[in-house]
Each structure stands twice: as C-alpha cells, then as structure tokens.
C-alpha cells in the first residue's frame, strides 16, 4: 500500500475515526493524540494487514486500543469524579448525544459501530475481540437502555434479531 493509498483510505474514514474516538475520550486533545498514534501505528504495521479489505476494522481496532491507552493514563492521573462532563458539539443531536454517553462503554461501542458506522456483528466481534454472542447481548442491552433513556421515542433500525 502506498502512502497515497493509505492517506486516501484514512481520509474516507475521517468521520468514523472521529466518532469512535469521541465516544471514548471526552477531551479534544486526547482524541487528537489517539488518532495520531493510531495512524502512525497503522502505517508502521501496515504489512501485518494481510487483506486490505479489512483495513477499516483493523484501523478502528488500533484506534480503540489507543483510546484505551489514553483512558488508562488519564485514570491514573485523576479520579473518575474529577473528569469533566462534556457538552454536545453544537452540530450534534443533543438528545442522542447525551443518551449514548449515558451508556456504559461496553454497550455503547457495539451500538455505535453497528448503527452509526455500519459494521456487521462479525466485524464488531473482530474489532472488539469478543464472541459474536457477546456483541449481540451488549447490543440488545444497549438498545433497551437507549430506548429507556429516550422514552421510547427512538426506533433504531433493527438489523439484528432480538435475542
């Protein structure tokens, strides 16, 4: 893969990279740091990617790892209660923003990866390195919590069967 091809693929993933980092990191500078680390690592390790069709899931996995690394650093530095709450960006859907961020990360990520980014259950399982059954369970829980949070006003596109 040439650096031009790599750049083009990454630019086409811009919004996904942003949303995946946003859902895990509250601070803008942390998101910037995470995506930069992610891109550097992805480029350095690009030869480990046997099939370029899977580049997107592979890059997202690296980004999630980087976000976790930064979360760990921040959690070592400051107790949870000191982390500031974040306001929704001005162009965001405030209600959905707050409802999604109320979800535990373990259920929020599968919901986000499926409904926002369009990944299949098997792709999400590969990204999150957990069994497909776990992904489905978390998505079911996430959907229920999200519906409760939004007082049943949201009907998510039902792409997976209820378990």
């Amino acid at each position: 893969m040439t650096s031009d091809e790599f750049s083009n693929r990454i630019v086409s993933m811009m919004q996904t990279l942003y949303r995946v980092s946003y859902t895990q990191l509250s601070q803008s500078c942390d998101r910037d740091e995470a995506v930069q680390e992610c891109l550097c690592k992805a480029w350095q390790k690009r030869k480990q990617l046997n099939d370029e069709r899977f580049m997107q899931t592979w890059v997202i996995r690296i980004l999630i790892n980087e976000c976790h690394n930064i979360q760990k650093k921040r959690m070592r530095e400051s107790p949870l209660e000191e982390l500031p709450e974040r306001a929704a960006p001005k162009d965001a859907d405030f209600e959905l923003h707050d409802a999604l961020l109320k979800l535990d990360e373990t259920v929020r990520l599968p919901i986000q990866l499926h409904y926002m980014e369009g990944f299949s259950i098997s792709e999400i399982a590969r990204i999150l390195r957990c069994p497909e059954g776990t992904v489905k369970t978390r998505m079911l829980r996430g959907r229920q919590e999200l519906k409760n949070s939004l007082y049943g006003e949201v009907q998510l596109p039902c792409k997976i069967k209820e378990i």
Binding site: F6, I10, S28, D32, Q36
Partner: protein, 369 residues
Amino acid sequence: MQNKRDLSNAFGKADDDFVNTVYQTLAAIQIQHERKDKKTVKKTSFRLVAVLAVICALLAGTALALTNTWGIFDFLYGRTNDVAVLPEAAEIVQTTVPQSGGQTDHAAFSVRQAIFDGQNLYIVVAAKPADSDYLLLGPDANPSDPIGNLGPLFSDKTGTIADYARDNNKQMIKTALAIDGTNQSMDFLLEEDYTLVYMIKAVIVDASSKLDLEVHCISAPFISEGGEDVVDEPNMKRTTLSVAVENTGTKETVSSTGPVVYSDCGVQVDKITLTGSAMALYAEIEFTVIDKEKFAETDGGLWFEFLDSSGARLPDGAGSNGSSEKIDENHYIQKTSLQASESLPGEVIVRGFNCWEKNKYETHTIQMQ
C-alpha cells in the same frame, strides 16, 4: 422517528482540530515515506502528562531565574506538580548542543537544553518567530482556545488566542515537532519575546555514547476560511533539526530475584528491573498471563504500582509517563518511571490494580538484587 442517519449525527462532525491532526499526521507519514527512512513515522503525544512529585530545591529556578527563559527543570517545576531529581542532574544538562538546520519561513527552531541518560531524552527546543508579527502556536493550540493556554505570561488575560492575535496584529502560525521512532510527550509555552518553547520527553533506550537525532519541525500559517481560522496546508513548511546529544548514562540496575504470582488477576510477574539515573528511576515490569479467564476480567485495565512501606503509592518520576506493551500473546511489559533515588532499593512493594474499576489486586513485596 429517528433513523440511521440521525444516529450518525449524535456526536456531530469531526471538528477542525481533529481534521487538522489527521491531515498533518498523514502529511508527516508521506514525507517520511518519501525519504525512505527505515525507522519512519513520527509518534507524538501532545501532552506532558506525568504527575511528578517533590521539588528538588537545589535545582530550582536555574535558567528561568537568570535569563527569563525556560529550561528543562523550569518545565519540570513550573508545569507539573512535583518532581524529584538528584542534585547531579544539574551537571548533565547540555546547554551547548551541536545542531544544524531548523529554519522555516515562519520560525527558527533550535535546541536550548538537552539531557539524555540512555533511557529517556529530555529536550527543550526554542522556536523563534521569523517575523515579529508572527504568533507561534503549538500543535494542539487552536485559535478558539483561551489565550491563557499559551503560558504563564498570558494566564491573566481573557479572550481567545484568535482575539489576542487580532488585537495585537499578529498572524497565527501553527508549529509542530516530532522525533522519529519515539514515544514522546510534549509541553510548550510562549515566552515574553514570543519565542515558543517546547519541552519534549521521549523514551529512547540507547547505550551509544552519543545520540544523533532528527527533530522534524513543521510550521504553517492560519488563514481565515468561511469565517473560521484553518491551517493553510499548502503553505506548510517543513525542516529538520539535526542534533547530537551526549549520553550521560545510568547509574545502576537491580532486578527481582524470582517470579511472583498475582493470582487474582491471572498473571505472573516474571521480572522487575529498576535502572537509576540522576533524572529518574526507570522501572520495567515483565509479566506473563497464566490464567486467561481472570486476566480477561481485568478488561485490559491491569496496571502495577509501586508502594511505600505505609501502602501509599510512590509518585511518578520525571521520565516516561508509563506504557504497557504486548510482547506476544501472553507476555506484556509495563514501563514507567519513579522519582530519582540516591540508591536502588533492596526490595519493592508492588500492587496490581485495575485502572478502569480502581479495584486493587494483590500486593507483594519483591526482593531486588
């Protein structure tokens, strides 16, 4: 009724900072690829995040007090909570550093001070604006940020950086620095004469007597586009600052005498190594997963911390912020730094804890030799 498109707007669109970071990183990757540099690719983390403890009074106010310019210890004292380095750290600061290059259309980059102890590089780089009208900003400073973010001299001012630039007829210039192949942290501030000063700390383990570095320097003006200040990518200027830093070396190393099992998190600590220098005590903890189920329950949050005899966590050192690397399927190595110490300990008290849930695992006292 909400649909999939609505959901995708829950977090809004990628902000300018994020987009700029992606483009700048890709640009750096392309440049380095073109150079066919074997090491390739910069890695920069934009925050100096170590929490340092206890100030060593012998070193206080060295450069800042005398010249009103920021040096390594000024950053350690003035920009972090606490720090503890040994008095001889003052003797290993290199103030005359062989260097070449570092000039762009917007700024002249030069190394002001450096320390390299074979484990960590500490380096202060000054960026002097090429024009008195230029206002240099660091890599994660943005026009919409509060002006106080530019450093202590601006802390009592109100408004944004863009406001300040407009009121003082300054043109904002974005700058960035990176060192190839290193995991680095960075802090920066503006001095009174508008010199932008960077403090970079990078984990570099190298036994060579001299370290040859290439510091990649980038500058680009901000332009107004659609009412917003954005980086003028086509006019981004790049240069390399070639630097030679002496390796002043570490003092001693001690290692644990045998493996220790942390059964409640499913790992065995195979080896702990402590390496002392005037700047910090560098710690490496190598561990093996022996119970995959229990280890999986930590959800990747396992971290080891060093305790004192009363059970309090020892403060971090001046060096690395800490990282945990996966060596292979079952082996990991955690690297961190502790405050510098005159002598190396005969034993350490190490506790496992989960940084997600904050719950504590076992604590063991481990003999070192």
